[in-house]
Amino acid sequence: MPIADSLANVGLSHYLVLSAILFTFGLLGVLLRRNVIVILMSIELMLNAVNISFVAFSRYSPNGNMDGQAMVFFVMTIAAAEAAVGLALATTIFKKFREVNIRYFEHLKG
């Protein structure tokens, strides 16, 4: 697809690529950041990226089904639940270790 064409016709693939890029950022964040909170944020980023895909697929599906939007609904709930659990864990850990750098959590290994 020529560049100009792709600039002119925003379609499903644009949304999907956006979603993929965001997802990649999320991956990178989990892999590279040391702060546990930021890692949690990166995971949220990944889930959000998926949401874009769901909505875009739903929107562009030939029979116009809305399932994708329903799924986004569930995903959001679960993301919230994950955030809750994750932050609760982080709090516990912080209380214990006084530290949120994952470098300090390497006791279990081998």
């Binding site: 002119a8 990649t24 040391r34 702060n35 909170i37 949220e44 939007q69 516990t92």
Partner: protein, 179 residues
């Protein structure tokens, strides 16, 4: 040209999303990260809205940019975190490997999307353009009929997680007491 303006809107929102997404993982101060994340979520809400899913976009704003972000910020403030000296994981080789493999994943997925687009994907949305209220109604229909089990399970999940999270945060003192 409505098409052009829609396109423009998309590119602006997408740029915003990508920029703020990048900021999430590049900012060394966690508070800025959180703000960037909020920004990302808002722009994603915009993108979702641009796709015609108004209700979902709204929920996105409320749940994410509202509730979840508040949680994050609260926790950050609780921890009282400063700008980090070493925000990124050490190790040149492993860093390279990480970036390379993530790059490959992103590249392959993007390439696959782009190449599939020529053959499979429609460039225009399906014809059933419905109004916001209608789409919300349809969504409700789905959630309470087709996805009723999931919906209820979600309720149970939230209940369980609520109790669990409370229990978890009460571990100190709770589990330390002797029998």
């Amino acid at each position: 040209m409505p098409v052009l303006s829609e396109n423009l809107l998309f590119f602006i929102l997408a740029g915003l999303t990508i920029f703020s997404g990048l900021m999430v993982i590049l900012q060394t101060n966690p508070i800025f990260c959180a703000l960037a994340l909020a920004m990302t979520m808002i722009s994603i809400a915009g993108i979702i809205a641009s796709l015609g899913a108004w209700f979902v976009a709204g929920v996105q704003l409320i749940v994410y940019a509202g509730a979840v972000m508040v949680l994050f910020v609260m926790v950050l403030m609780l921890f009282d975190l400063k700008d980090e000296v070493r925000a990124f994981s050490r190790g040149l080789v492993s860093g390279f490997v990480k970036i390379a493999s993530v790059g490959i994943i992103g590249g392959v997925v993007t390439a696959a999307i782009w190449m599939s687009a020529e053959t499979v994907f429609p460039t225009t949305p399906s014809g059933l353009q419905v109004s916001a209220t209608q789409s919300t109604k349809q969504l409700a229909d789905l959630l309470f009929k087709k996805y009723i089990f999931s919906f209820e399970a979600m309720g149970a999940l939230l209940l369980i997680i609520a109790i669990g999270a409370v229990a978890l945060s009460r571990i100190q003192g709770g589990t330390h007491a002797d029998r």
